[in-house]
Amino acid sequence: MKDILVAAYDGSAASRRAVDFAIRQAGLIDASVVIAHVLEWSPYSFLTPQEIAERHKRRAEELARAQNALIDPLLKELGDAGVPVSAEVRYGHVAETICQIAKEARAGQVFVGRTGESRLAQRLFGSVAVTLAQISPVACTIVP
């Protein structure tokens, strides 16, 4: 069975570098790549009654937008990279959900970009790369 690598992708330049790096590595070891795109979501966030009534509709729209605007163009671009690529779009806590996707896919490694925020910003807002480095169940490569 082929090795599987998971690359986190949110449309940013940093995440694109992570995807490209994962593709190159996959090419070297004959692995396949799963692109993971996570829509930040907490089941404990507050919604107004109106938002609750419209949530199912909004969710469908958000998923469609992520698929059409981010994932499909990326998969198209990566089509001739010579590496099998698939994608997973999910809701949840970003770092935890990427770990979950890696676990379910039995991936050997996770790739994530870093945006290079200042220390202060990282301390205040946290960072997906740092959280993944701490909680990833498999090897985690942080791509600068």
């Binding site: 089941p43 404990y44 107004t48 009654p49 609750i52 009534a53 419209e54 199912h56």
Partner: protein
């Protein structure tokens, strides 16, 4: 036919609201106009208010409170004390233990509960309880807790039905609530009259939304603010509130609502936490306090009406605070994403528990523990004034009594209480704007234009409520909220066998392991 009736009624309602609103700033100063409006309103609706709030013959017990408590007792017995049997499972559902991770991004049980709670936790928990204990004595606390526990069964019944019979539209949005289960549920059981009850419910719900869910809240928020900043015209508070409500419900600026709603649970936790600290500081009184509560609940402690007076006040407060049986929560809970309607019923029964058994009880205990109620040292009975109120240590009543009780331990607390009351009022208004809207669209049809008309009317009534001291208008809208319960509970009696079938089916699958935790 419905459309032409709708258009006529809409234009009349709009004209009335504009007239009321244009006159609102003037009411603040011109007494005569205010009085005229009061008189006209009292003359035309007084019979309705008297009917809803009238007492059982020969007693001072409002029949509507009896209606709510009897229904809660019937549902408790009919479902075999469901509120106690499934409490652990309810908490597991709220924690998301049974939620499919693939459904992430949909409305969670926690979110539905938090939103519904923000509509019920409000001034009643702070001021209403003080009134109940101030008249009914410590014994009222016992009856309030009992009624809160029974109310959990009513809430469970209505919210299960709310999800089961909601309308799901092609675009993925949902509308639910008593008007839908009254229509569809009655038709399913072959019982006539569902449509009539649904229309009546919707009319009462719209009046309730404009009144208790809007004008009363704006009015009370202004009273609180005026208490801090000194007296100033109410229409100023009204315009500011109306503007904020407008940009949330019409402009779709959810961030303001989110900020408020994030602060509301925090406030509630801070309120309960402070209450616990104060109880802790006076822990030496615990034996005495609980003796007062139990003695007051069953014996005559000198209060108006004796033990029965305590029962009336306690039941009344619980019923008015947690809205169990009123049907409003069924509208809020019906939008949750679940394949099992009964799970939302299980979650919703936590609402009266948190609202009444926890928050209301805290207010009552702080008032009792800090010794606000004056006892005659010779007789051991409470000292009661001519108006039937127990004399308090500071002379304060209502929200002032709660404030004084908390201030006896923390002098800064009254300021926090003002912020809490204003925020609770705002979140209650946002919730009721939605309940009213759903009733409105049920009557006049779904559509952007119908929704906009309702929302603009709602904002105009905010100004009216804050600007004017419209006693009869407020009385009428309170009566409308409880009239909702008359209609809703008739429906719940008819439809409770359907809920029973749902519960039995779900619980047997839970026991057999067919329904399992995901985590």
């Amino acid at each position: 036919m419905q459309h032409s009736f709708g258009s006529r009624a809409l234009s009349r309602a709009l004209a009335l609201a504009f007239a009321l609103c244009a006159a609102a700033p003037a009411w603040a100063q011109v007494e005569t106009l205010d009085d005229t409006i009061n008189r006209i309103f009292a003359d035309s609706t007084g019979w309705f208010v008297s009917l809803i709030f009238s007492n059982f013959p020969g007693t001072s017990f409002p029949w509507i409170v009896g209606w709510l408590v009897v229904a809660a007792t019937v549902f408790t017995l009919y479902f075999g004390f469901i509120q106690f049997r499934v409490l652990g499972h309810s908490i597991a559902l709220v924690r998301g233990d049974y939620s499919d991770p693939r459904d992430a991004g949909e409305v969670s049980h926690f979110q539905a509960l938090a939103t519904a709670l923000s509509g019920t936790v409000g001034l009643g928990n702070i001021a209403g309880v003080a009134v109940a204990v101030g008249i009914g004595g410590p014994g009222a606390t016992f009856w309030m807790i009992l009624a809160g526990l029974l109310g959990m069964a009513s809430k469970f019944t209505e919210c299960t039905l709310g999800v089961k019979y909601r309308n799901e539209y092609e675009d993925g949005t949902v509308s639910g609530g008593p008007m839908y289960y009254l229509t569809k549920g009655f038709a399913e059981r072959g019982v006539p009259g569902g449509r009539v009850l649904a229309v009546l419910f919707s009319i009462f719900c719209i009046f309730g939304a404009f009144g208790g869910g809007n004008m009363f809240q704006a009015n009370q928020a202004h009273q609180q603010l005026a208490g801090v900043f000194g007296d100033y015209p109410g229409w100023i508070t009204g315009v500011v509130f109306a503007f904020i409500v407008f940009i949330v419900i019409v402009g779709g600026i959810k961030s303001i609502a989110r900020v408020t709603e994030k602060v509301v649970p925090f406030m509630a936790i801070l309120y309960v936490g402070t209450a616990l600290v104060i109880i802790g500081m006076n822990i030496g009184n615990i034996g005495w306090a609980f003796t007062q509560i139990f003695r007051g609940a069953f014996t005559d402690m000198g209060i108006a009406g004796g033990a029965v007076g305590a029962l009336i006040q306690g039941f009344k407060r619980a019923a008015f605070s947690n809205e169990a049986g009123v049907g409003s929560a069924a509208i809020a809970h019906s939008a949750v994403r679940t394949k099992e309607p009964v799970t939302e019923g299980f979650v919703s029964l936590l609402e009266p528990f948190i609202d009444t058994v926890v928050i209301c009880t805290m207010t009552a205990l702080v008032i009792i523990f800090t010794g606000q109620l004056v006892i005659d040292p010779e007789t051991g009975r409470y000292v009661v004034d001519q108006g039937g109120h127990i004399v308090t240590a500071t002379g304060a009543t209502g929200v002032g009594l709660t404030s004084a009780a908390f201030a006896s331990a923390f002098s800064w607390f009254p300021y926090l209480l003002v912020v809490a009351v204003v925020l609770f009022a705002f979140s209650t208004m946002i919730s009721w704007s939605y309940y009213g809207l759903k009733a409105w669209t049920y009557l006049f049809g779904e559509g952007k234009q119908q929704e906009l008309i309702f929302k603009i009317l709602f904002c105009l009534f905010v100004i009216v409520g804050a600007a004017a001291n419209l006693g009869p208008v407020i009385d009428f809208s309170d009566a409308a909220i409880f009239a909702m319960a008359v209609v809703n509970i008739i429906g719940l009696y008819v439809l409770m066998p359907i809920v029973k079938r749902e519960v039995n089916g779900y619980l047997s699958r839970l026991r057999s392991g067919e329904i399992r935790k995901f985590t």
